[in-house]
């Protein structure tokens, strides 16, 4: 892992933690777009450097679809549904930001599972952690989708930086999965908001309400 990789890993980690602390959906999408574009360009560069056409392909795919198309589509969704901010999270987001910073700090300092996780992989594990926190803490469906995408960014960054010879089909499969997931989630969100006129998952418990 070279210096550039670790710089990018830190950028990913910082943007992910930043996203945990904010409630405005558009800002979250911008940050997500920035980190995805960074990951996509890194994958393309690594692919070019190692003469792996599949990785170049995957990198360009991430750059175009996940970095540009998905955020634009989600922004359009946000506009259409008319929710600009998280209507609430299970823990207040400032507190959550500090807790997740502390959790990532603990991860870095104590470094559990040293046999299976190399030190260079710690930033991506941190991003995955932040993505999970984003997913479980928000009540708004769109925020949970963004959390899922951040988590996936962490996984993709992990596979790109650690072993350069990992079966790339898997990565492409993950990429396709994510695109499908985004679309389906979007359609579902739309449906839900059409039929229930809100996308607050807490209020989905009792459909008769």
């Amino acid at each position: 892992m070279n210096a550039f990789d670790s710089l990018l890993g830190n950028l990913l980690l910082i943007t992910s933690l930043w996203m945990v602390g904010i409630t405005a959906i558009s800002t979250k999408l911008t940050l997500y777009s920035v980190q995805t574009l960074a990951v996509g360009s890194l994958a393309t560069l690594v692919g070019v450097a190692h003469h792996e056409p599949a990785l170049v392909f995957a990198g360009v795919g991430v750059f175009v679809f996940k970095g540009i198309a998905a955020p634009l589509y989600l922004a359009h969704l946000t506009q259409a549904v008319g929710c600009r901010k998280d209507i609430g999270s299970f823990i207040a987001s400032p507190l959550l930001l500090l807790l997740s910073a502390a959790a990532v700090g603990g991860l870095f300092l104590f470094h559990p599972f040293q046999q299976s996780v190399p030190p260079a992989a710690l930033p991506s594990i941190g991003v995955i952690l932040a993505g999970m926190i984003l997913m479980v803490s928000r009540r708004l469906a769109i925020s949970q989708i963004i959390g899922f995408l951040v988590l996936e960014n962490g996984m993709f960054f992990f596979t790109v930086t650690i072993p350069h010879s990992l079966p790339l089909l898997v990565e492409l499969g993950v990429l396709l999965d994510i695109m499908a997931g985004t679309m389906i989630a979007g359609v579902l969100t739309f449906q839900i908001s059409d039929s229930f006129e809100h996308i607050d998952i807490l209020r989905l418990g009792n459909p008769r309400k």
Binding site: A3, L7, N10, G21, S93, L98, G105, L109
Partner: protein, 306 residues
């Protein structure tokens, strides 16, 4: 004392006396122009200070010595901060570590807060209470941001910030993050827009200004100069963190770079003052927590890097 040290001290004295008021003047004029007002002259703070110094000071009979001495104490604390930190791009004449700087800043805040409560007015007490609540966020942010810088530069002496040769090969976001956190803390300390309206006349919404309501004359002049010095020194420290990321080695280049960056920060402050609205008091922690989190992450990354 050698000639070079004397030269350095003289230069620092000139810079610490002239630059703060000039920056405040630029900030006010620029903000007025951005809001399509003519605004005051750039040199207006100098005239204001001269006018205030000539005026007599009226002091309530209810106040004690705390109220009378607080402006001098807080100004002295900030002058000492200006003497021990390399805020102007060159090494400070007196060696001081970051704990000392935090202590001095806290001393200044405590003196003003006590003086505000000494007057016994409702607004003074309210301002002191709000200021001390904000300091819960500001102080750890400053400690952590400066600690991150200290971890990167390898020693607790803040003068290390003015010697970038020890920082090789970038800081992996540590310094930009610390700078962002310190900038946020500086915005609180200097009562800038998202936190507090610096030109408000409504006492109910004041935070820092509410503590100074009872002051007049020469004491108010001291406090005005102190707040200008505070702005300059804090922006100077932010500029040092950013300059170290760029690794500029030549002392003269650093000095020019610092001046330029401080000016950029002042312009940014004027623009933000124009664009932003004051946040609700209860929403402030949502914003200030970012300073804390950024400086915490900066510290972690710095610890990992070393």
């Amino acid at each position: 004392m050698s000639t070079s040290t004397a030269m350095l001290l003289a230069e620092l004295a000139v810079e610490a006396l002239v630059l703060p008021l000039l920056l405040v003047g630029i900030l006010r004029t620029l903000r007025a122009r951005l809001q399509k007002r003519t605004g005051p002259r750039i040199l207006q703070p100098f005239y204001d200070l001269a006018r205030l110094t000539r005026k007599s000071s009226s002091i309530s009979l209810e106040t004690g010595p705390v109220f009378r001495t607080a402006p001098a104490i807080s100004l002295t604390a900030y002058l000492l901060v200006a003497l021990v930190t390399p805020w102007w791009g060159l090494c400070a004449p007196i060696r001081g570590d970051l704990i000392l700087v935090i202590f001095l800043l806290a001393t200044a805040r405590m003196a003003i807060g006590l003086a505000a409560m000494d007057t016994g007015t409702a607004f003074g007490g309210m301002g002191a209470s709000r200021e001390s609540m904000l300091s819960i966020f500001v102080e750890p942010t400053m400690v952590l941001a400066l600690s991150a810088a200290a971890l990167v530069s390898g020693n607790l002496w803040l003068n290390g910030l003015a010697k970038p040769s020890v920082i090789a090969g970038g800081s992996a976001y540590v310094l930009p993050l610390a700078a962002a956190a310190l900038w946020l803390a500086a915005a609180v300390e200097t009562s800038r827009m998202p936190i507090e309206d610096p030109v408000t006349h409504l006492e109910l919404t004041m935070i820092h200004e509410a503590q100074l309501l009872e002051y007049s004359g020469a004491r108010l002049a001291l406090l005005e100069y102190q707040s200008a010095l505070k702005l300059t020194v804090l922006y100077g420290l932010v500029a040092q963190l950013l300059l170290n990321e760029l690794v500029i080695r030549e002392p003269f280049e650093r000095w020019v770079g610092t001046l330029g960056l401080i000016l950029c920060l002042v312009v940014a402050a004027a623009i933000l003052d124009t664009l932003l609205v004051r946040l609700h008091w209860r929403k402030l922690p949502d914003l200030l927590i970012f300073g804390l989190a950024f400086s915490l992450v900066a510290c972690l990354l710095a610890a990992l890097r070393g």
